[in-house]
Amino acid sequence: MRSNIILGRGDLEVIEMLNKYLIDKIVGIRNVGDGKLIIDVKPNNLVDVVNVVTDKLGGIFVTIVGNDARSIDNSFHNIYVFSLDSLKTYLLIRVKLDPESPKINSITHIVKGADWGEREVRDLLGINMVNHPDPRRLILPDGWPEGINPLKKEFAHSIRPELNNSECYVPLRSDDVVALPYGPYHPLLHEPEYFELHIKGETVVGVEYRGFHVHRGIEKLGESRLTYNQVPFVAERICGICGFVHNVCYCQAIENAAKIEVPERAHYIRSIILEIERLHSHLLWLGVACHILGFDTGFMHAWRIREPIMNLAEALTGNRKNYGLNLVGGVRRDINKDSSARISKLLKDIKHEYDRFISSLTAVKEVIRRLEGSGLLPKPEAISYGVVGPVARGSALKRDVRVDHPYAAYKDVSFKVPTYSECDNMSRLMVRVDEVYESISIIEQLIDRLPGGSILAENAEVPEYREGFSGIEAPRGEDFHYVLTGRFSKVYRWRVRAPTYNNIPALKVMLHEVPLSDAPLTIASIDPCFSCTDRLLVFDVDKGKKFKVSYKALASGWKP
């Protein structure tokens, strides 16, 4: 039983450290579960606290949760989430802000990864980020009226404000730098996202990212229209490839908030399906990587090997994707004996096929040469951006939520966390290559030890106004969900931070000074999932100039 009193894993150590470095800055502390701490600090101390957390406690930035809590304690909340990997703890730092004109000092100069999170709360909650280096919007479109912040509680989810004819974005124009549009619709990007590559000759010298074209307002939907057990079905539609992670992550966050004890068997089934999802996702990515390199034979074979995994998922859950498996408190479908046998056999076949695929792939020198040494992301940058998943592990950062913050059944299995230190596209590929083997082994172990018992907690009740959160190691890295439960079986606040959200900003580093031909591959090397993220990077290009043009002018056929 997880309770408020029991401190787990690194908690005591963390509290000791907090005592030592931050005793005079902390105004409140709460333990919401094993390895889950929330501290309250005064807004004017935030920068100091973040400095200590990153320097002394080894905190890596995860995300920012903004919350309009005016109806609860008459303030806005900003919660800065850090992962203390080595202490196996999530540390949440909460500041309470003025209800009338909320403002807080930016921390982007300390952790680069906070850039997006800060701009997001500014867009969606109207919180003023003092000294933030980038005044532009992140999520709201250019024509969105000033002063309307969709995550404020007074804003109804069904409202569609009239967009005005404000100035809208135009590509950079300069004499010696060419702005090359990559997206928003591009054969190699399977979702609408816009990268503007600034090139000098053949070399990329800068990149500008514009995303959130497909922002669907899922958090708002969850907070206003859906009940606890309806959210999982929307959560898994956040991502078309690894939707199950969002589904589990949300349920775990609610279970953490409501202290619901999930049956062991449900934990195991969740882990099995999570690993099946990783298998198909990594194989999908390997195929796409081959395709981008012009090696379509590899693409075809990767996807051929992947197909039986999709069929397996279909047999186990009732669908190839959108498994619809989770409810708060457990899962809806059991895995029977026949299925276990089928899984074991299939894993053997796949291992064999995959071995052959990988050794053939590494024999193709053109592929390897393109991957080696391109798209470098040095370790210190990886830490500052708070990158996650294979991108982090490809930059020698040994971080994996399954190990750092164990959930579901991962505490019961043993597996390796592959890391590579070359920090290039090849490293990121190799991490995924190795992880497929680890996933196969994890599923085998889980099937072997699958405990009996029920699969859904009985009469799971969710109390009002409790906080909980959860991290999950998705195929693309750490997924993070935060919930604050509300009244009438609804979440008051549901925050989703998908892995790609932390990885895209680091592309600024990876794409610096690379040949143009390596750009698509490097962008693909983070295995971006834009739909998840939607939920700008600037380079000082010498003599760069920007123009603006009105929406009206554009609509009536403006030409450069």
Partner: protein, 168 residues
């Protein structure tokens, strides 16, 4: 391993692409496809509509003409099968049907008659649901199920007042 291994693999594996739709694709048992509603079984309890995430199931209460309509909209359905999970009389079956692309909107509706309160004569609930609930109650609890909540409240208050003896 030489790159010739790709050719070897290709020859060994052969053609894996199926000629769908000319060749049928079988889906496994337990596949979550089109839900089918049995209008003969449905008691109009609205449980399915309450759990349906995308509002594919809608409840329309027509008090003038005396019926409740349970509408299912195919175009909104995400095939989660939650409705079948919660239906107390197993009126919903999740089928293996998946070739459902259609340009219009398909609405299937079940209409269930309302029943009138024996005291005031207003429609107040659907007859089948009442029957279903009644079959699970003992005689004592059954007393007053044929009158509407409003009338029941009134008669409860009346009997309370009576029992208290204020207006003897």
């Amino acid at each position: 391993m030489s790159r010739l291994s790709w050719i070897k693999t290709a020859l060994e594996v052969g053609v894996v692409t199926k000629k769908y739709p000319f060749e049928r694709v079988e889906v496994p048992d337990g596949f979550r496809g089109l839900p089918i509603f049995d209008s003969g079984k449905c008691i109009g309890c609205t449980a399915c509509a309450n759990v349906c995430t995308p509002d594919a199931i809608k409840v329309v209460n027509d008090f003038t003409n005396g019926f409740r309509r349970i509408e299912y909209r195919l175009g909104k359905c995400i095939f989660c099968g939650r409705c079948a999970d919660v239906c107390p009389v197993s009126a919903i079956t999740i089928t293996k049907e998946f070739e459902l692309a259609y340009t219009g909107d398909v609405i299937n509706a079940i209409e269930i008659k309302f029943i009138k309160c024996v005291q005031c004569g207003q429609y107040y609930t659907v007859s089948r649901h009442l029957k279903h609930v009644s079959s699970k109650l003992n005689d004592e609890a059954l007393e007053g199920v044929d009158i509407c909540p409003d009338c029941r409240r009134r008669s409860n208050i009346n009997s309370l007042i009576h029992a208290s003896g204020v207006f003897r």
